[in-house]
């Protein structure tokens, strides 16, 4: 039974100088940061975070791998990924056949990544970015043609890619993503 409740007391605060010390401590800390701010602000979009490959961003379909099983649509919790019917020609036999293809509606997608994880052939993959602006809602409802290619990431053209690394002194430190230098 390693976990145990421990009754603690609030730190006592008595005497004439307790309040004085508290004030001095608070002001000292304030001034310390006034002199050395240790900022972590990201100046977006002049800078943008280059996310790790494992990040669950926008989802892209590789149609060659897709076996039209509709597992992704079945598991989608937001009903963003749904199947559409398409008449397609079979390359071998030349027969026309009805096939189901997934399409995604980014008005709804919550980026949970279930579809990627459930896909039996890894036909879906995520790209590590998701801050893309659309001019209207209709554009966010992707058809199959849009779904098969990674979306354009405009921020990457405008800004400097940065990365946050966990640091012992400052918490997070912003570094340039490519060189790995501290800014």
């Amino acid at each position: 039974m390693p976990a145990r409740p421990v009754v603690k007391r609030l730190p006592a605060r008595r005497g004439l100088f307790a309040g004085f010390k508290g004030n001095v401590d608070a002001i000292t800390i304030g001034l310390k940061y006034l002199v050395d701010p240790k900022r972590i602000t990201l100046i977006y979009p002049n800078e943008y975070i280059k996310l790790d490959p494992g990040y669950r961003g926008f989802i892209v379909l590789e149609p060659k791998k897709c076996i039209n099983c509709s597992s992704c649509a079945r598991i989608c919790p937001a009903a963003a990924m749904r199947m559409i019917r398409r008449m397609e020609e079979d390359p071998k036999t030349g027969k026309k056949k009805m096939k189901l293809w997934p399409v995604i509606n980014y008005q709804r997608c919550i980026f949970c990544g279930y579809c990627v994880d459930v896909c039996p052939t890894e036909a879906l993959y995520t790209v590590p970015y998701h801050d893309i602006v659309y001019e209207n809602m209709a554009e966010m409802d992707w058809g199959l043609e849009t779904f098969v290619k990674p979306p354009e990431y405009p921020t990457a053209k405008e800004g400097i890619p940065v990365k946050y690394i966990v640091d012992e002194e400052k918490g997070l430190v912003k570094v340039r993503a490519e060189e790995g230098e501290e800014e």
Binding site: A26, I27, I29, G30, L31, Y33, L34, P37, K38, R39, I40, T41, I43
Partner: protein, 340 residues
């Protein structure tokens, strides 16, 4: 030609005009803009962020406040139907004007040619004028006819009663030490700045000015978590800007008073003859000192939260008021010993 320039200069530097319009209105506007910017920047530094940035990053976002001002100026002023129209509009304007009025009666130089009023009782007149403007904040709250405004106005009233006595007492301790109500004599008497001789009175004055101008930790009337924006809840546009600016202008007026009383006024400079050395330079020194004092005031925002109303009052009466009395006593002692 020279005559015309002299005429213009003499009009500009006619003390009531110079102090009310140039130092009072324009100067305080510039200082307030700078101080609000500084406050935002300093708070941002302590809070590990950038503060105003995107308007002119090279100037560290300084024009941001000008942009804000323009926005306030052009925003629609909405007057609620249930509000008391005349008072609603008048109150912030009168409050703003009154908050800079003390500047018009204090000396900014020792040259008698450039005193706006006879100086014999100037400290009393200045202090009396500082007490007028807060009433109009209560009026603003009442005229808004909104529950939050009224609560805020009532809080303001509580706070006034607490700080006024302290402010007057602690600032007057200087005249007790020098045995005069003449601000010029008080300034001239400070071979050593009065802050060093009587730090207790200065601290009391500092705290009371914070209370008077809703600075942290006494930002109680506008405490946004319960009463939205206190007396200013219903205000918008320029009137809101005036309301918010009034507190800073008042702080500026108080700061000038404190500079004269505690921080040696225009010392180390000795005003000479003529407009330039007799009036402009000493007044600029006073304004600069006041700005530095205001910068120190604005640091409290990043360190303290706000007191509860009753705690602020309790602190004011139990701690700061005795402090002011003590400072006054110290001043009398110094006068008796002839330190100053």
């Amino acid at each position: 030609m020279a005559g015309i320039i002299d005429l213009i200069l003499s009009i500009i530097f006619y003390p009531p005009i110079y102090q009310l319009v140039l130092v009072g209105l324009t100067g305080s506007l510039v200082v307030v803009i700078f101080i609000i910017w500084f406050e935002r920047k300093a708070t941002a530094r302590v809070q590990r962020r950038l503060g105003p940035y995107h308007i002119a990053p090279r100037l560290a976002g300084l024009p941001q406040l000008v942009a804000d001002l323009i926005r306030y100026a052009f925003q629609e002023v909405i007057i609620p139907r249930t509000a008391d129209r005349e008072l609603f509009v008048l109150a912030p304007i009168v409050a703003t004007v009154l908050s800079i009025l003390p500047i018009a009666v204090v000396p900014l130089t020792s040259n008698p040619a450039y005193w706006p009023i006879p100086m014999d009782y100037s400290i009393l007149v200045a202090l009396a004028l500082t007490t007028v403007s807060p009433i109009f904040l209560i009026v603003a709250g009442w005229a808004s006819n909104n529950k939050f405004s009224i609560i805020g106005g009532v809080r303001e009233a509580f706070v006034i009663t607490a700080y006024e006595m302290i402010a007057i007492m602690s600032i007057l301790s200087a005249s007790a030490a020098v045995l005069t109500f003449n601000l010029v004599e008080i300034v001239e008497a400070q071979r050593i700045w009065y802050i060093l001789l009587n730090p207790i009175a200065f601290l009391a004055a500092f705290l009371s000015v914070l209370m008077a101008t809703s600075g942290f930790p006494f930002e109680i009337p506008e405490s946004e978590n319960e009463v939205v924006a206190g007396p200013f809840t219903e205000y918008s546009g320029l009137l809101y800007g005036l309301n918010m600016g009034a507190a800073y202008m008042k702080r500026f007026a108080f700061s000038i008073l404190m500079v004269l009383v505690f921080l040696g006024g225009w010392s180390p400079y000795t005003p000479g003859e003529g407009i330039l050395s007799g009036y402009l330079i000493p007044s600029l020194i006073v304004v600069a000192k006041a700005a530095i004092l205001m910068m120190i005031f604005s640091l409290t925002r990043s360190i303290y939260g706000r007191f509860r109303l009753d705690q602020a009052l309790e602190g004011a009466w139990r701690l700061v008021f005795p402090m002011a009395v003590l400072g006054f006593g110290l001043a009398l002692l110094e006068a008796y010993l002839g330190v100053m």
